[in-house]
């Protein structure tokens, strides 16, 4: 168990792993009939691979990697629209760096930048606001991307722009929400999931109540988890114990950061600025009801869709996934990345075909990054 030594508290890790093995046995799960737990957050996927948690835990426990990487679930059509916006001569297009390499049908934002579009990677929408103040003659568009963790930041930035009367700042809103895709996965008869490890930082904003339907309507347990490997192990154990005991509850392992009701200021800002779209397209999952947010009428002046006639505002646009790419199957946990015919061939981190290979939170990138080390270990 070479990885355990890297844990902050190897003793505690060993004890948790032993308990996980025991409970997995109690459940009667085996490699052929594993208990399947989905981690929803891409940060958790990354941590599972980094610390080899999927191998330290017994074969009767299978981790299914959920759709929790916002870059990975971005459909190609949205990337195309970003490129179209960025290539307008008056626009300064600002984005989190994560989105730069996601392939569109013709090019990524990185390629568009190389061809001369004014695209700037920023750390925060606050940087985009500042650019708008400094360049009153340009249209600064911020690519609003991410789950509930980043939604408050663009909501508050839009409110700040409104207060200052900044007329050259807008947000291309592609924010998505965590609960609807979980519901979609639970409604999918092909998916068999026994429980969930819930996202920590998303829950810091929304609290734990939005997950109640998972326990109440679907009878599945969920534990909101922190990011330390020990947090994850403890959370997995809590899920397993509920499965063993036939209980379905929402439990909070990350109570030191996640309040039951979330963050009231963030939630109020989201509510003020955004409203749910009737539906939103997810890469690999298709259109999901009420899973995306658009900017409310009262902030229309800051809505890039309205300002430039693009995106959902201009009607649906669907683009087929590239040939031979299995992103959708990987995203829904139906196959492992290595089972994609393009993995490591047509699709590598240097030349990604799908977005799951781009972000460190994507399952394909995680397999790629840590798979090499594993192959070496296996050979040892």
């Amino acid at each position: 168990m070479r990885y355990v030594e890297e844990f902050r508290d190897p003793m505690a890790a060993r004890a948790l792993l032993a308990a996980i093995s025991r409970v997995t046995d109690d459940i009667g799960a085996t490699a052929d009939h594993p208990v399947r737990i989905m981690e929803i957050c891409g940060g958790h996927t990354h941590a599972i691979f980094r610390y080899g948690l999927d191998r330290l835990t017994p074969p009767g426990l299978e981790f299914i990697h959920g759709p929790g990487c916002p870059v990975c679930v971005l459909p190609m059509s949205r990337v195309d629209e970003c490129v179209e916006l960025a290539e307008r001569p008056e626009v300064v297009f600002t984005t989190f760096g994560d989105a730069m390499r996601v392939p569109g049908t013709k090019k990524s934002l990185m390629q568009a930048k190389a061809e001369g579009a004014d695209i700037r990677m920023v750390y925060s929408p606050l940087d985009a606001l500042e650019l708008a103040r400094r360049h009153p003659d340009r249209e600064v568009v911020f690519f609003g991307l991410g789950f509930e963790t980043t939604t408050p930041s663009t909501a508050l930035s839009i409110r700040q722009a409104a207060r200052e009367g900044l007329s050259n700042f807008s947000v291309f809103a592609n924010h998505i929400t965590v609960p609807p895709p979980i519901k979609a996965l639970l409604d999918d008869p092909h998916m068999v999931l026994d429980g969930f490890v819930g996202p920590g930082h998303v829950s810091m904003v929304i609290g734990t109540r939005p997950y109640e339907f998972i326990a109440r309507d679907y009878g599945k347990p969920i534990v909101v988890a922190g990011f330390e490997p020990l947090d994850l192990l403890q959370s997995v154990l809590m899920v397993l114990e509920m499965i063993r005991d036939g209980k379905a509850e929402v439990q909070n392992q990350y109570g030191r950061v996640v309040p039951q009701d979330g963050n009231p200021v963030s939630l109020a800002a989201i509510e003020d600025v955004y409203e749910p779209r009737p539906s939103f397209e997810w890469r690999g999952l298709g259109e999901i009801d009420a899973s995306g947010l658009s900017i409310r009428e009262r902030y229309r002046a800051f809505d890039a869709e309205a300002k430039f006639g693009i995106g959902y505002g201009a009607g649906p646009r669907h683009v087929e996934e590239p040939e031979g790419c299995a992103c959708g199957l990987v995203m829904t946990g139906r196959i492992k990345p290595t089972a994609c015919p393009q993995f490591g061939k047509g699709c590598t981190p240097e030349m990604p075909l799908g977005a799951l290979m781009v972000s460190s939170e994507g399952a394909c990138a995680a397999y790629w990054q840590y798979g090499g080390a594993r192959a070496m270990e296996a050979a040892e």
Binding site: E6, R8, C41, G42, G43, H46, A47, R50, Y51, G68, C69, P70, V71, T94, F96, G97, D98, G116, D118, R120, M121, V122, Y123, S124, P125, L126, D127, E130, L131, R134, H135, R138, L145, G146, F147, T149, T150, P152, S153, L156, Q160, P199, H201, V202, M204, V205, G226, F227, E228, P229, R256, V257, N263, V265, S266, A269, S360, E361
Partner: protein, 97 residues
């Protein structure tokens, strides 16, 4: 982008806009504190918070801050965030192409 990074609030820079200076793993960066403000902003000086894309989202204690930072370092995410902050500063300085 999805994981916050711990930072300590060291000064209030513009109370009218809820802006404060935070020290994040040795780097100073202005952040918005409206989501953690309760009462006068001066009370935040010295506090630790989880910072997401320039917004302080939850107050945490010093011990939690240290543990979270260690977890982020282990994942390489701490460096990624610091790089993104540097990139952001560069974006502001960049002249019109």
């Amino acid at each position: 982008m999805c994981l916050g990074i711990p930072g300590q609030i060291v000064a209030i820079t513009d109370a009218s806009r809820d802006m404060a200076m935070a020290e994040i793993s040795g780097v100073r960066r202005e952040v918005n504190v409206s989501c953690i403000a309760e009462g006068p902003l001066d009370g935040l000086v010295g506090a630790w918070a989880l910072i997401h894309v320039g917004f302080a989202m939850a107050r945490i204690d010093e011990e939690e801050a240290a543990a979270t930072l260690e977890a982020l370092r282990g994942l390489g995410e701490a460096q990624e965030t610091l790089d993104a902050m540097e990139e952001g500063a560069r974006a502001l300085a960049e002249a019109r192409p």
